[in-house]
């Protein structure tokens, strides 16, 4: 009887009005309504788009991605010819974007930390120089920096033909107008830097994963190096244990050196490692590897520009660590640079990481300025040539935005994982 009464009690019975008046349901109701409205808006936009495209006699589809691209790309990190598909060209562009983005983030972080720390230096000259660097780079648009580095690289360096020694020149005892540097292994020309390229006589071959070849020799080499580092860390741990038990630290530096370098050297020797040195042919240097000026200019500009912002973040992070920490470290007898690396920086990291993430995202998106110096990244292939040759503006633009979005989400989630690991542990 009582049970039945309770279930009949007002409030347990659901009425439609409760969706609005009952605080238990209200927020849910509002969310559902907003979601429906948002869905309708998206549907309207899509429908409108499709209709307008139809009115212009155009369709929306991605079939063109599987057609022959027909154009060539200078810098290709994965195999590509003009017979490859537009999708393949997209991948080549994506690789070119990623390589600049990754190297850029690493370089900018290094520059940023060094400059950020030096800006706080007690040395007046050093700290002022760093301030000038930060202010100059932060306040001039990135595109100008890219061009400012790119143009002189091309205008000042010699042409490949300037390296040529003809028979008449030999007879007359004349020197060529330009010559290679570093024991005749590196040529700097108006097109880029031709450097020696590591080659193996007995390579381990490659495996294709989803059309992207992975070089087994490189993977094996990385595995060997990784194993060496691991073995080295074991040795150090043993040494520390001995030190803690006996008070005497055993001498291990020669063991470390041996374990770090010997396996790698033996491995390379076994595979027949040698360097292929670039050689002048009719128009260009061939053999070796060509690092294009556009790549160099883009990378340096991105590093110096973003580095200036990161320096400010690092400086703010250091200043956020209370002065007492430094004084306590000094009282314990730690020298200033040990204090910085052991006490201050680890604590500053907590403040530094979140704004650092957005700098990494900025840098990654800024790689799309590469088109200004003829660097064919994702913007240059998918969003440039493919878009133009196929006339599929909407498809290409949407796909490109999606890809940049995915890259950015990956970067920020990786950085968030790292952020969690350095966060203050609350116990």
């Amino acid at each position: 009887m009582h049970m039945a009464m309770a279930s009949d009690a007002p409030g347990n019975e659901f009425r439609l009005g409760m969706l609005i008046y009952d605080t238990r349901y209200r927020s849910l109701t509002i969310q559902v309504i907003v979601l429906i409205l948002f869905g309708l808006a998206v549907a309207w936009l899509l429908n409108n788009t499709v209709q307008n495209l139809e009115a212009k006699g155009r369709t929306f589809n991605y079939g063109f991605l599987w057609q022959r691209a027909g154009y060539d790309i200078q810098q290709q990190l994965i195999p590509y010819t003009n017979d490859s598909t537009h999708f393949r060209a997209l991948l080549v562009g994506l690789m070119n974007t990623l390589v600049v983005a990754i190297l850029g983030c690493i370089g900018a972080t290094i520059v940023g930390i060094i400059v950020g720390v030096l800006r706080l230096s007690k040395n007046w000259l050093v700290s002022k120089l760093m301030t000038i660097y930060v202010e100059i780079f932060r306040n001039i648009p990135l595109l100008l920096w890219i061009l400012f580095i790119f143009v002189p690289l091309g205008e000042l360096a010699p042409n490949p033909t300037d390296f040529r020694v003809t028979e008449e020149m030999q007879a007359a005892g004349e020197e060529p107008r330009a010559s290679m540097i570093l024991f005749d292994t590196v040529a700097i020309t108006a097109r880029g830097v031709n450097a020696p390229y590591p080659l193996l006589e007995r390579p381990l071959g490659t495996v294709d994963v989803a059309g992207i070849p992975f070089n087994l020799s490189v993977l094996a080499f990385l595995a060997v190096v990784g194993a060496s580092f691991y073995a080295n860390s074991l040795i150090r741990r043993r040494a520390r244990a001995v030190q803690e038990a006996t008070g005497v630290r055993p001498v291990i530096w020669w063991k470390s050196l041996l374990i770090l370098f010997a396996p790698a050297i033996v491995f390379l020797w076994a595979l027949g490692f040698h360097l292929e040195v670039p050689e002048l042919t009719r128009f260009n240097f061939s053999g070796g590897v060509l690092v294009q000026n556009s790549f160099i200019a883009l990378l340096i500009a991105l590093i110096l520009y973003t580095g200036a912002f990161i320096a400010e973040i690092v400086r703010a992070g250091i200043l956020a660590v209370s002065k007492g920490q430094t004084e306590a470290a000094f009282a314990l007898g730690l020298r200033p640079n040990r204090t910085m690396s052991l006490i201050i920086l680890p604590q500053a990291l907590r403040v530094i990481i979140p704004p650092l993430i957005s700098q990494f995202l900025n840098l990654t998106k800024n790689t799309s300025l590469g088109i200004a110096v003829s660097y064919l990244d994702l913007r240059g292939t998918l969003g440039g040539i493919t878009l133009n040759q196929t006339g599929r503006e909407l498809e290409c633009m949407l796909l490109m935005m999606l890809i940049y979005l995915i890259i950015s989400l990956i970067i920020s989630s990786l950085m968030n994982i790292y952020n969690r690991s350095v966060r203050l542990k609350e116990r």
Binding site: N52, A55, G154, R191, N284, A372, S374, G391
Partner: protein, 338 residues
């Protein structure tokens, strides 16, 4: 440039209430101004002169259109476009007509949904190298680095040419003509390739034109002409017949100087129809009766436009070649005004 591609894409999608397919002619008349997509700057074809006025072979056709549609050759606004942005600019309605060294191809007709209404210059793709490189044929370019404007037909022809001749090359894809010239002159590439007319025009503006040679091989057909959007046939007709008016004028010996006099005195029925003295040719297109007379008076006939901008007396020094009238062994041929 990036922004224009992006907004262009959105506008094509119809997210912005953009230009509709139909009635460009009415829009131009209502606006009182013709918007013409031109080059970012190619001497002789389309470039602003020292005082900021646009001049050139392609520009003249825009001016002729201004005269025939609006009665005033100065009521034309020129929008500079690169190889990459030009078609988006046209598709999105940013420009009414694109007259900018653009090659007529099947893909551009269909996938891009454009109409090439005429061919005002029959061209082909060539190569330019520095004289001291010692190259005399494009077939010797194996292994060379080649500067190429991105978003052009020439980009695809280049790949085909090297492939069919079993040669390799390194492309440097450049956004526009001036940057291509700068990189070529700096030595970032051994050869610059584009339409032969464009090469001649570029060479004319280089510091020492004599030290560059245009190689004899022409590796493609590049019929260049004015482009409009698919679906607005009336506007296409207006552009096409304004162009043919200039061509017919040359055939009939009508020039900017004598057009009034010919209109008053000629007894040739086609000339009378062309100049609006007789019949209703203009009205059939939605133009004034004397529309074509105004166009000829404003810029001169096709031959005059050619000689004044790119002809042999100019630094660019192009011969009429394929672009001579059909009566003189060329390909330029206008259908009858009837």
């Amino acid at each position: 440039m990036k922004r224009s591609v992006f907004f262009g894409a959105l506008t094509v999608a119809g997210l912005a209430a953009g230009a509709s397919a139909a009635a460009t002619l009415d829009e131009v008349k209502a606006r009182g101004e013709l918007i013409c997509g031109s080059n970012t700057g190619l001497a002789g074809f389309g470039a602003p002169d020292a005082s900021g006025n646009w001049q050139g072979f392609d520009v003249a056709l825009c001016k002729a259109l201004g005269a025939s549609v609006l009665g005033d050759a100065t009521k034309v606004r020129f929008v500079p476009t690169t190889g990459e942005t030009r078609f988006t600019a046209l598709a999105s309605g940013e420009v009414d007509v694109l007259i900018r060294n653009s090659t007529w191809t099947l893909t551009r007709d269909t996938e891009l949904a454009f109409d090439f209404v005429a061919v005002n210059y029959y061209d082909g793709q060539g190569f330019m190298v520095k004289r001291d490189l010692g190259v005399s044929s494009a077939k010797e370019l194996d292994g060379a680095t080649v500067c190429i404007q991105t978003g052009t037909t020439t980009e695809l022809n280049l790949a085909d040419f090297f492939k069919s001749n079993n040669m390799t090359y390194t492309p440097v894809n450049v956004a526009d003509d001036s940057e291509a010239q700068r990189q070529y002159l700096a030595g970032a590439c051994d050869a610059y390739t584009t339409d032969a007319s464009g090469l001649a025009a570029s060479r004319a503006t280089m510091p020492d034109p004599g030290s560059h040679v245009i190689l004899p091989e022409i590796i493609s057909k590049e019929p260049l002409g004015p482009v409009v959007r698919h679906g607005d046939n009336n506007w296409g007709d207006v552009v096409r017949w304004t162009y043919y008016a200039l061509l017919t004028a040359e055939e009939k010996g009508i020039t900017a100087a004598n057009v009034e006099e010919v209109a008053a005195s000629s007894t040739d029925p086609e000339v009378r129809r062309l100049l609006g003295v007789e019949g209703d040719m203009g009205a059939k297109l939605g133009l004034d009766p004397d529309a074509f007379k105004r166009a000829i008076a404003a810029v001169g006939n096709y031959g005059e436009v050619f000689e004044a901008n790119v002809g042999e007396a100019t630094p660019i020094g192009l011969a009429r070649g394929l672009n001579a009238l059909w009566t003189q062994g060329g390909l330029q041929y206008a259908p009858p005004f009837r």
